[in-house]
């Protein structure tokens, strides 16, 4: 029972991270039917943005009040990268065959990883990023874990789950209660008619990229706090997992991304604990995650919450 509760906590933590990243895949897909495979790198750049903010402003300090400032720095780094990426790489390909932006996304992904790997350490005062880089220790977050019953809850894990809750509420309010949110729904349902209403579709696309980047940046900070170090390729696997989560929930559906993320995290954690024999244990957890991706694509391509999968006419 303890083992189950412990894995549930672990799964929710991992799942919250996946969910925060998955939202970025799904909002962009919902608007322009593009799988932005460079989105994992936006998550990685968020983590490096937080680290850079800390180095520039607070090096050597550990106070909790710095964390919000670091989060702002993370969001700024991710949003700027995502907006430039959309403008310079995706917008010129609007209307091109779908394979073109997909290949471009993979190219951007490699470009951003290598850019961070080779150039981060060249900035005066910044550490070399060819290897793992230690993430700052923050009072109250990286400290002693809580131990209700016999289970262990890391403070950084609680931070991750809380971050998802806050972001999900914020996103709900944005989508359903603001004019821009409503315009975003209109564009995803019928872009041409949305233009007839006076909605600037290009602006809404940028908004979708900004939302995805914001949540990915927060996930990047959460990951740094949990693992206590970051590296230039952290976005690769996390991005693929989050993409799996988005597909599992129903790509294009924001709540599907949240549900898919949490489900994937829990399944992965449970598999580590409860699958016996050769296929158990953590070495196999990625196999289970991607087995789910394949099963979903074969048997329920529309995902758990059944968003549209067919192309619009």
């Amino acid at each position: 029972m303890d083992a189950f509760a412990q894995q549930l906590v672990n799964g929710l933590t991992l799942g919250s991270l996946y969910a925060l990243i998955a939202v970025g895949y799904t909002v962009v897909y919902g608007i322009i039917q593009l799988i932005n495979f460079a989105h994992g790198e936006i998550f990685m750049i968020g983590a490096f943005g937080a680290l850079s903010t800390w180095i520039v402003l607070f090096k050597g300090q550990t106070a909790l009040w710095m964390l919000p400032v670091m989060i702002v720095g993370a969001i700024a780094a991710s949003v700027v990268t995502a907006v430039i990426m959309e403008r310079a790489a995706y917008r010129p390909l609007r209307g091109a065959p779908r394979l073109a932006p997909l290949i471009t996304a993979i190219g951007i992904s490699v470009f951003l990883q290598e850019g961070v790997r080779l150039l981060y350490g060249k900035v005066p005062g910044f550490p070399d990023a060819k290897q793992k880089v230690p993430f700052p220790v923050i009072d109250g977050i990286t400290g002693q874990s809580w131990n209700p019953g016999n289970i262990v809850i890391q403070r950084a894990a609680a931070f991750t789950i809380l971050a998802l809750v806050v972001c999900a509420i914020g996103l709900w309010i944005f989508v359903n209660r603001t004019k821009t949110g409503r315009a975003m729904q209109a564009v995803s349902q019928d872009p041409d008619t949305a233009r007839l209403m006076g909605i600037n579709v290009n602006r809404i696309i940028v908004v979708a990229f900004i939302i995805g980047a914001t949540l990915a940046a927060i996930a990047g900070v959460a990951q740094g706090l949990q693992v206590t170090n970051i590296n230039f390729k952290m976005g690769f696997l996390a991005g693929l997992k989050a993409f799996t989560a988005a597909v599992l929930g129903g790509i294009g559906n924001v709540w599907g991304a949240v549900l898919g993320g949490l489900t994937l995290g829990i399944v992965e954690s449970m598999a580590v604990q409860f699958v016996p024999g050769t296929f158990g244990g953590s070495p196999w957890k990625d196999v289970w995650a991607f087995a789910i991706l394949i099963l979903v694509l074969v048997f329920r391509p529309q995902g758990l919450l059944g968003a549209k999968v067919v192309d619009r006419a």
Binding site: K179, R182, Q185, A186, Q189, D190, R195, L196
Partner: protein, 237 residues
């Protein structure tokens, strides 16, 4: 006085295929003007080009003195030109009220609430169903919603693309009566229809399109009485 909408020598093509082959027509303020013709005549293409969703190969479109071919599609509604598209194209997952409010997306003034009530007065069924998702509606109800939504931008001119398509005779009559009501309230209307008789009866002026060209034009009455139109579009021998 110059026309509210003036289309001159308009050519529109999809790749190598010319869908509109140099048509000219005009709409005066306060008129109902109709473009009639069979499927593939280029009616919808013409409206989509006026709205900026398609760009012409050549020719000009002038609305209230402004060249529309240089204006972005999303800026056109603010100039006072609304377009209720073919197939209604309501936002299926949004409620009636949300759909109507999107019609007023480009507006910043305080009159939006009042205009929402005006749209509900025009089509009372929409008021009853204001918080239902629009995708569950019948064709007629969706058409009312599409027209109400277009009127929410407070247009000087409204373009209606096949409002009667797929509707029951009763519903069709209801929609066509509304066209007259809107005209009486001061909206200029450009009406595209396959149902030539219903459209011509209400039109001050009509143009007949055939495979991308205007082959006939005249007052609504003249066209109704023309032998060519009767044979081709009204099913008479």
């Amino acid at each position: 006085m110059s026309a509210m909408l003036e289309v001159k020598d308009l050519v529109v093509s999809y790749g190598k295929i010319k869908a509109v082959k140099g048509i000219s027509f005009s709409v005066e303020e306060g008129e109902v003007v109709t473009l009639i013709g069979t499927n593939g005549a280029g009616k919808t293409t013409t409206l989509r080009t006026i709205s900026g969703l398609l760009r012409p190969v050549s020719g000009s479109i002038t609305f209230k003195g402004q060249d529309l071919t240089k204006v972005q599609a999303h800026d056109i509604v603010q100039l006072g030109l609304a377009h209720s598209p073919e197939g209604r194209r309501i936002f299926p997952k949004l409620t009636v009220e949300e759909n109507l409010n999107l019609g007023a997306f480009a507006r910043r003034d305080k009159g939006i609430r009042a205009d929402l009530e005006a749209a509900f007065d025009l089509f009372p069924i929409l008021r009853e169903r204001r918080s239902q998702p629009a995708g569950t509606f019948s064709g007629g109800e969706q058409q009312m919603l599409a027209m109400g939504r277009a009127m929410m931008s407070r247009p000087k001119m409204l373009m209606l693309d096949e409002p009667s398509m797929g509707l029951s005779p009763i519903m069709m009559k209801r929609i066509m009566t509304t066209v007259t009501t809107l005209q009486q309230q001061g909206t200029t209307i450009l009406l595209v229809e396959q149902n030539a008789q219903a459209a011509l009866k209400r039109a001050n002026k009509g143009y007949v399109l055939e495979v991308g060209s205007i082959v006939l034009s005249g007052s609504g009455r003249e066209l109704l009485e023309s032998d060519d139109v009767r044979k081709a579009y009204l099913g008479e021998d």
